[in-house]
């Protein structure tokens, strides 16, 4: 995720202090990984240097967290451009699970067991996310749904693969 663009976006609704920016970020985007203050300051000084934000005032006795940042026109343009650029679809052609399955087939090990254990692990993760989604607010629901869709997609590959391991073994060891 681009922390810089996210912080810039948060500034669009009005100037904020460093500590306030961190709090807003953590609340909406932090989830399992809150920002370190160090990340906020290094990011903000880069944005400052590039003219995407400006400092609107420093409170008395204030360290960097007391700085009040405001987005510039160049900053707004930058956020806009970032939002309009599509994300690269994920790179899925280097899957460790695929490698494990093929190696197990090649070495005549129990590939079904590998898939069973993976399914079980995958479902364990999905249970945790489902639970969090049920108890959480809209942000938890949205992010957990995203993660759940990805885990479910892995399983949609796993099931038909498990169902044709015998055929695959023949093809792989030919």
């Amino acid at each position: 995720m681009s922390i810089g663009h996210t912080l810039l976006g948060l500034l669009e609704s009005g100037p904020r202090h460093g500590y306030d920016l961190k709090r807003a970020f953590d609340e909406k985007f932090g989830h399992d990984r809150p920002l370190h203050y160090g990340q906020v300051y290094s990011t903000m000084s880069r944005l400052l240097k590039n003219g995407l934000v400006e400092v609107g005032g420093v409170e008395a006795g204030g360290g960097p967290e007391r700085k009040r940042y405001a987005i510039t026109d160049a900053g707004i343009t930058d956020v806009q451009r970032w939002l309009e650029t599509p994300q690269k679809p994920g790179e899925y052609l280097q899957s460790p699970l695929y490698t494990k399955v093929v190696l197990a087939l090649l070495t005549r090990r129990d590939a079904a067991k590998i898939l069973d254990v993976q399914r079980s692990e995958q479902l364990r993760g999905m249970r945790t996310l489902t639970d969090r989604k049920s108890k959480g607010d809209w942000a938890d629901q949205l992010i957990c749904d995203h993660a759940l869709s990805h885990l479910a997609a892995d399983l949609r590959w796993l099931e038909p693969t498990a169902a044709r391991l015998d055929k695959l073994r023949k093809a792989v060891t030919r």
Binding site: D116, M126, R127, T130, S134, L148
Partner: protein, 230 residues
Amino acid sequence: MTTSPTGSLLAAHDLRKAYGPTRALDGAEFSVHPGEVVAIMGPSGSGKSTLLHCLAGIVPPDSGSITYNGRELTAMSDAQRSALRRSEFGFVFQFGQLVPELTCVENVALPLRLNGSSRKDAERTARGWMARLEVDDLTAKRPGEVSGGQGQRVAVARALVTGPRLLFADEPTGALDSSNGERVMELLTEAARSTNAAVVLVTHETRVAAYSDREVVVRDGRSRDMERAV
């Protein structure tokens, strides 16, 4: 693999069931504890529904044992088994379980009426369950007048109205879109947990299975309990 894990509510050992040359169950193992939600997963035709029907005493297995609360299901008479189903089990299936001529509240109240409750008492309890499943505004409608998702919630309310200790559900969300399906699962598991009812849930949907505590995978009529396999 051994069965009858201590404290289980329902346990099955070495179940076999053939339909002509098809071995629908070929040495299946299963157990569920009180209040536990277990998902039965596996490819189409692997024997999931057959397993559920055997566990629920709807279809007799050719061999093997099924103990419910210490009683051997396969040794009971048909009358004993159906009495057990009526008093201790609840059922939810994919389609067509509501009586079309009755209103939704009459449908939900039906199991209580069959057990001898007065109409007034039965419908009061039924309304309470419909509220928990968020369909209390549908009491006066007939099944033909509600959506698929609403109908499934009414069916879940009906399955839980007698306070069963064990709920059997075969693809309960199979006919619903994913967000409706998940909401039905959320309400179903919440309601089951609040009454400490165990749930045996057949599903091929992993997001639905994620509402379970544990999964059992059936392949070629044999089941693998992942908790014990790992």
